[in-house]
Symmetry: C2
Subunit: 422 residues, 2 copies
């Protein structure tokens, strides 16, 4: 353990590592040019990273005159990370390499309302199986986990999460850190997905973007200047409870009236779809109900996909409400890209079209001039990629690199110290 | 001129300078502890900054045992900055020191619609007078300017500004950089005010906050993790054109229906106040009108301050609409603090109360648990403080410090190079 005081790394070490990570393959002369560092300094920093096993020598690169420089590669297999996404009704967990690439993954149904002890026991059991399947029993460099509720990031504890009874204030971070003897980071699932999209998805290299999830709940992850914006209490992006119809009389699970989620979320679609089936307004849904299938949001999506007018109508109504809300947020935040994800969005293009139509009509021309709106291509993988990226970004932050160098192990797996997160 | 390539500064130099700037007075041992740097490195970095005249030796500090260390001070008078705020109807300009403290200031009426040449000619004339009054004809370290419209920050050009005819795409930055042979930064007035509040106002040290200006127009400045969030096109914070009453039939100057600004901004209050005066609904305003005074937003504020029920009602209606909009943005952005500024807000406590009442009712408890909502204490000074802070922050950024060291002038005023802004 260290004192937790700010330490500094040798000049440029973190920048060199970041460049190698981003570029995959590079050369010493390229690093010197890109970072404005002297050749000697670059040689020393690269040697330092090689000692730690983070960078390895590659093929001869092409020459621009003179002796061809040797290529350098980030060694993503120098260590591994445990990443998990706890959903309302499922657990997904994986072993990833240091580029957040999934090595092995497992998904199973689960009930988050069973409480933190039981859910985290399952997460651990899965982690252990996954580690065993890659021939390890211990040695993860870090653990990252996303949960479906607000989290105080600094302490790794959920804060008054509405759909996670028993989790309020539970020390998820501390419990897992003890088990794995490794640093642990915990965040809200939508933040984690936003980070995943930002590191490996369509929004790579986009500095200002929004990830919006429309599923049972509705939430957003904000990236500002390339960094996740978590907000003062870590609850930024809670757009499901923005009032969109104060005179609707529809009471949300949060107790307020007319929240976006209560009118446009998965539960609302389920309720509206079931009513349409029972009242015979939707032939498709009525047939489904008669065959004994419960009507849920996915069924409404299927109805729309089969050309059922009521199914299409319900989806479009949800999409328009989401579009209305996003129009205000686009004026406010001016993102370059919005990535739409979640079960309701995946139900079809009609949904994205409805969002766009309202959004472009209601936002200012300057804010929408170059705005792209895409459906998530990563889907469920965004959560795991994001949880792993969260770990790797923190591991290679300057403060942690410094602690690592302090620990002084010669090579291979570092003796990681569990510094408090910033 | 340099190539614009990224250069690096000696390890810790920028951090040492930042610490001295923030703390005002410090000591070498304190710097070493706070930054985790070795004593020799600190001594060298401080010597470097002293050579440049940025840091000076102060009094003997109190000892914690052993020889008392000598105090170090940031020398805010090592150079000066020209800062200006161009408003819709006024120009404010000042000479400030390197802590953004105003040395001398001038304000005069102006009409931004007269176009960039005429307005910037006046700005230059005022700058020249102000410089002369402090015994200088040239040598400003940088120039910062806020204008009432969206700006592409990287190029320093206004982009389709609605109330600034003739300014679209005008190279404000380049024109002033040529005149003053110094680097120039241009930004939206509300961003500049947010920065001013963040550097010298109530929001000092608050990492996530919103500055909201309610005047003729309505706009917001966003600070995320201590940094201004400008958005992809630099138009983040344009909340005046969020739709709040799509069925109101009230057409905004942007062409859309039911924008916040069209219902709650200064022009709306003026229109509503004038109608109340003409129809005799407000005795106070009717008397004012009969005495030949034009009814504007300030008159509505005065009516409310004198207990006139209609004046109070109009202010509260505006405040509630602003509060409704901010409730959504609080759920989305989760700031720790909202600072309310602008002419309409300054009209009285009844306004702030109306904003708060709706905001706290409509936002999530977690997001409002520790949320503070304050009226700006800086008022007009926020713009100048922000414009000057923008310049000083950029001057002392690592990339610019590096360029400065490269230029190799021994001491005193640096030969600043006009690097492209990041």
């Amino acid at each position: 353990m260290t004192s937790g005081a700010l330490r500094s790394v040798p000049d440029g070490l973190d920048a060199v590592l970041q460049l190698v990570r981003e570029e995959g393959t590079t050369t010493r002369p390229h690093i010197a040019r890109a970072l404005g560092l002297g050749r000697n300094v670059v040689t020393q920093r690269v040697a330092h990273l090689m000692e730690r096993g983070l960078v390895k020598e590659g093929e001869l690169a092409s020459s621009t005159g003179g002796r061809a420089p040797r290529g350098l590669q980030f060694d993503a297999e120098a260590g591994y990370v445990l990443a998990a996404e706890v959903g309302a009704t499922s657990i997904t967990a994986a072993v990833t390499d240091l580029s957040a690439r999934i090595v092995v993954q497992h998904e199973e149904p689960a009930d988050v309302t069973a409480g933190p002890e039981r859910v985290l026991d399952r997460v651990q059991a899965i982690f252990d199986d996954l580690q065993a399947s890659v021939g390890r029993t211990s040695g993860a460099w870090g653990v990252g986990i996303g949960v479906p509720g607000p989290v105080e990031f600094a302490s790794g504890r959920p804060v008054a999460p509405p759909i996670m009874p028993g989790w309020d204030g539970f020390p998820v971070r501390d419990v897992l850190a003890k088990v794995y003897d490794a640093p642990v980071w915990v965040d809200n699932d939508v933040n984690v997905m936003a980070l995943g999209e930002h590191r490996v998805g369509v929004s790579r290299a986009v500095q200002d973007f929004l990830y919006v999830k429309v599923g049972t709940g509705i939430g957003a992850g904000l990236v500002s200047g390339g960094h996740l914006h978590r907000g003062a209490q870590g609850c930024a992006g809670d757009i499901g409870h923005i009032t969109v119809a104060s005179d609707s009389g529809i009471v949300c699970r949060c107790g307020k009236i007319g929240c976006l989620e209560a009118l446009a979320g998965g539960a609302a679609l389920e309720r509206q779809g079931a009513a349409a089936a029972e009242e015979g307004r939707s032939p498709y849904l009525a047939k489904l109900l008669a065959s004994g299938t419960a009507i849920d949001a996915a069924a409404v999506g299927a109805a729309a996909a089969h050309g059922d007018p009521v199914g299409t109508q319900l989806l479009m109504r949800s999409g328009r409400l989401v579009g209305e809300t996003l129009a205000a947020l686009v004026n406010f935040f001016n993102p370059a890209l919005i990535v739409l994800g979640g079960g309701v969005v995946s139900s079809g293009d009609v949904y994205t079209a409805a969002v766009k139509e309202v959004l472009f009509r209601r936002s200012l021309p300057l804010a929408t001039r170059d705005l792209r709106i895409n459906r998530s291509q990563l889907g469920h993988r965004a959560g795991i990629a994001g949880a792993a990226s969260m770990v790797v970004d923190e591991l290679f932050s300057p403060v942690r690199l410094a602690a690592w160098l302090d620990a002084g192990t010669p090579s291979g797996l570092p003796q990681l110290v569990n510094l408090p997160a910033r």
